[in-house]
């Protein structure tokens, strides 16, 4: 079972390494990720949101609904932890 897992992970890693041949070079300023969408945020963040920190303006202003959903994720995870780890009264009585 362990050798099977090793073989599967090596094959998956080899496929991913084959995929990096088409990736842009590391730190290339003309890579598609840095010329297609992000210049609009870099140039307009000061005019539109008056926030010098672009990460903050994108997180809390442009993608505010995403951050709202993120807080929902945190709330759900916290509720799940509390509900799982809560010691119920009947369980405690049954153990005694």
């Amino acid at each position: 079972m362990k050798t099977l897992g090793l073989i599967v992970s090596i094959i998956a890693g080899a496929f991913l390494m084959y995929g990096t041949i088409d990736m842009p070079d590391w730190g290339d300023p003309n890579s598609p990720a840095s010329i297609h969408v992000s210049p609009r945020y870099i140039t307009n963040t000061e005019v539109e949101t008056a926030t010098p920190n672009m990460v903050t303006s994108v997180l809390a202003d442009y993608r505010g609904y995403d951050t709202l959903g993120e807080t929902t994720v945190i709330f759900t995870a916290g509720m799940a932890c509390i509900l799982l780890l809560r010691r119920r009264k009947d369980v405690r009585k049954a153990r005694r």
Partner: protein
């Protein structure tokens, strides 16, 4: 040689990711599986942050001279790409949430079966 220098960071993250993947598949201890899942998520976060990097004197995506009138022209090549950073901030939050719930479920299984080894739990279920 140029090819290796241009791509080796991706290879490091792929190796890290496969270490986590192997731990998730073939370790039988549940805590080790959770650690493997965290290594996997960390590899993805490092990969996205490395995509954001630009060579040639780019600084952090914080404007150094803030004026709302647009007097200074903003050089796009002078700032790192902010979008992968934002997405990874969200991914860190999700990884913390999954880690918390996974550890809570592991505690529950330990309370019920008094072990964290997967084969012993499967035996106890049967």
């Amino acid at each position: 040689m140029d090819f290796i220098i241009a791509k080796y960071n991706y290879w490091i993250y792929i190796i890290l990711m496969m270490i986590g993947f192997y731990a998730m598949i073939s370790k039988s201890n549940l805590i080790k599986k959770i650690i493997g899942m965290n290594i996997f998520q960390t590899a993805i976060i490092l990969f996205f942050v490395s995509i954001a990097y630009k060579k040639g004197g780019a600084t952090l995506p914080i404007l150094t001279h803030a004026d709302a009138h647009g007097e200074h022209a903003i050089q796009v090549a002078g700032y790192l790409n902010p979008l992968p950073h934002v997405l990874m901030l969200t991914a860190i939050v999700v990884s913390i949430a999954t880690l918390g719930v996974a550890l809570a479920i592991a505690i529950m299984m330990y309370r019920k079966y008094h072990t964290l080894e997967e084969d012993e739990i499967l035996k106890a279920i049967k």
